[in-house]
């Protein structure tokens, strides 16, 4: 598989003035259950992801990975502990505040059915800017206009052909759809990009190409990338691999601080 060489977090993550890498995600003592009481589905003592870092989060289905992503996105809040994203304790924000924070700072790529079927390629990419003034301004600064920035990102992802831009996304192949989803996650330069098994429906060649493009764009924007998958073969491509069972006491028997 033709994939970019792994880099260390030290080489990618920008340093604070004091020398330590700038944290994007910091979890401490986070517990969560859907019922509001024990048993918990998430019980993480600590987790830290820094700016520009590429983290591979690996774990079997049902281990609570998607719940952790919902906590990071502020869709749900922990029963105990703190979830800090960009130094903001997002548990202290109200519902609307968390939604706004997610729109401003987090880009998402899902496994499948990523795109809004009734929007064109460009409209799908521009979608986050409709909900975030901050990302709209940043996209405008990067490309002149939001649309121009969407086209620029699509060009970087080999999707810049004029014929493709206005096409309904339902006419695209799965690989093309994933690249559009990546462009949407990256528009407006969010500080955190979360990818939830985005390559599971791609063949090996497409997967390599997709990861190459994703890494390149995240590095360009210095975005932290949390990549969730149960495909162990991808682990060497990332700065760091976290076995989810190792950090989530609710699932694994022997948690270890990370």
């Amino acid at each position: 598989m033709d994939v970019p060489a792994p880099a260390t977090s030290q080489t990618l993550a920008p340093q604070r003035s004091g020398g330590s890498p700038e944290p994007v995600v910091t979890l401490s003592g986070v517990r969560f259950s859907w019922s509001g009481a024990a048993p918990f589905v998430i019980d993480i003592d600590s987790l830290r992801v820094t700016r520009g870092e590429r983290v591979f989060l690996r774990g079997p289905s049902g281990s609570g990975k998607s719940t952790l992503l919902s906590l990071l996105a502020g869709v749900i809040t922990p029963l105990a502990g703190t979830v800090r994203v960009l130094d903001r304790d997002i548990g202290t924000l109200g519902g609307a505040g968390r939604d706004r924070f997610r729109a401003d700072h987090v880009g998402f790529i899902f496994q499948m059915f990523n795109l809004i079927p009734y929007l064109s390629v460009v409209e799908n990419v521009c979608l986050p800017c409709g909900f975030s003034k901050r990302r709209k301004e940043r996209a405008g600064r990067e490309g002149g206009t939001v649309q121009a920035e969407a086209v620029r990102l699509l060009e970087h992802l080999d999707m810049g052909e004029a014929a493709l831009l206005g096409r309904p996304v339902t006419e695209l192949s799965v690989g093309q759809q994933q690249r559009v989803a990546a462009a949407r996650a990256l528009i407006g330069a969010p500080e955190l990009v979360i990818a939830d098994e985005p390559t599971s429906s791609l063949d090996a060649d497409r997967r390599a190409a997709f990861l190459d493009l994703l890494f390149r764009e995240c590095a360009r924007e210095q975005a932290a990338l949390i990549f969730v998958s149960h495909d162990a073969s991808l682990a060497p491509l990332f700065d760091r691999t976290i076995q989810f069972a190792d950090i989530n006491r609710a699932f694994g028997p022997a948690p270890a601080p990370v």
């Binding site: 998607s66 992503l69 919902s70 996105a73 869709v75 749900i76 519902g95 609307a96 939604d99 706004r100 997610r102 729109a103 401003d104 998402f108 899902f110 059915f113 990523n114 795109l115 809004i116 079927p117 009734y118 929007l119 409209e123 979608l127 986050p128 409709g130 909900f131 975030s132 949407r184």
Partner: protein, 423 residues
Amino acid sequence: MILTLAIKSLRNRKFTAVLTLLSIGLAVMLLLGVERLRSESRESFAATISGTDLVVGARSSPVHLLLFSVFRIGNATNNIRWDSYRAIAQRPEVAWTIPLSLGDSHRGFRVLGTTHEYFEHFRFGRDRKLELARGAVLEHMHDAVLGADVAVKLGYQPGDPILIAHGAGDVSFSLHEDQPFRVVGVLQRTGTPVDRTVHVTLQGMDAVHAQAAEDTFDPLAAAVRAGADEHEYHAEKNPKRAITAFLVGLKSRGAALSMQRLVTEYSEEPLTAILPGATLLEVWEIVGAAEKTLFAVSALVVVVGLAGMLVALLTSLSERRREMAVLRSVGARPMHIFALIMGEAAFLTLLGIALGIAALYLGLLAGRPWLESRLGLFIVVGWPSAYEFALMIVVAAAGVLIGLIPAYRIYRYSLADGMTIRI
């Protein structure tokens, strides 16, 4: 942003959206159409006669008398003797009278035998007098003045000869061929049954019937015909004639009730006198129940149309949960998701209403000639009335309220799902 998404989402579900739009549009067209026909028919009826204090005819029901004498609907069961008419017309309370003789037709249009008083005293709408569009009023015995629709539909001009036929049907086999009339004038449009009437002189009418009677060797008819003046039009020359009804204008409106009693108690002949306004109220009472039923049915059709929208939106929800999760991931709040569905419901309802109004106006424009010719209903295609606007607002509000149901459900889903569908 949300409205754009709502419209694009609906475009993505064109088939169900179009069906929903059609059902709402047709329901609104029906509701507003029923209301429009109701109000226009009332207005049209009310505008048909004005300034007339009493209508007098042979003894019959007041509604029947009003319908045949003023609205040309149905036929008289009996006539009034000329001397009875003269006796009442000469009462000191009476300012003017207009004798009416009905029962004949010309190519489907009613023929009215009357006198010059008709053109002087008859009023319609808000005290509007009959005006000539061209030509002159009745002067000679075989003169005819046409209502606006008669002239337009039959293409007649002053100077054209016309024949009248016995009876009121579209086709008659009993033409008075030896008594041709000549068109001398055409009235301006009134929006009342006058437009569909051929006006002739009472004397001409007498002559026609006398000739018809002579053909069957009726000595009385021959005597009437002998008294007719072929050149000069004098209504008073035939004391044996009978008329169908007459309109009465009083010097003082306050005398209407006493005059009505006087006519009803007239000893020489059984007569009925009605106050047109009061009898019109009776007509509305009779048709009121049917109007209410029709309105209730059309309102139910609106409910069915909106229920169709509810079903369409509700059935789309489960397949759209993933779409909502994607929107949540890019920063949409549950309220945005709520507003998206509400936007779709509002858009469908408002567009449905607009479609219904457009269809109604097209239908009215297309059906107006038929309504006029078949039902005698003169529809003014103008701006919607305040009541119609109120109905539209009620339908729009009902559509938005119905939209709350799927919107609230998707709101709950999006709160529970977040970015992961939880079933």
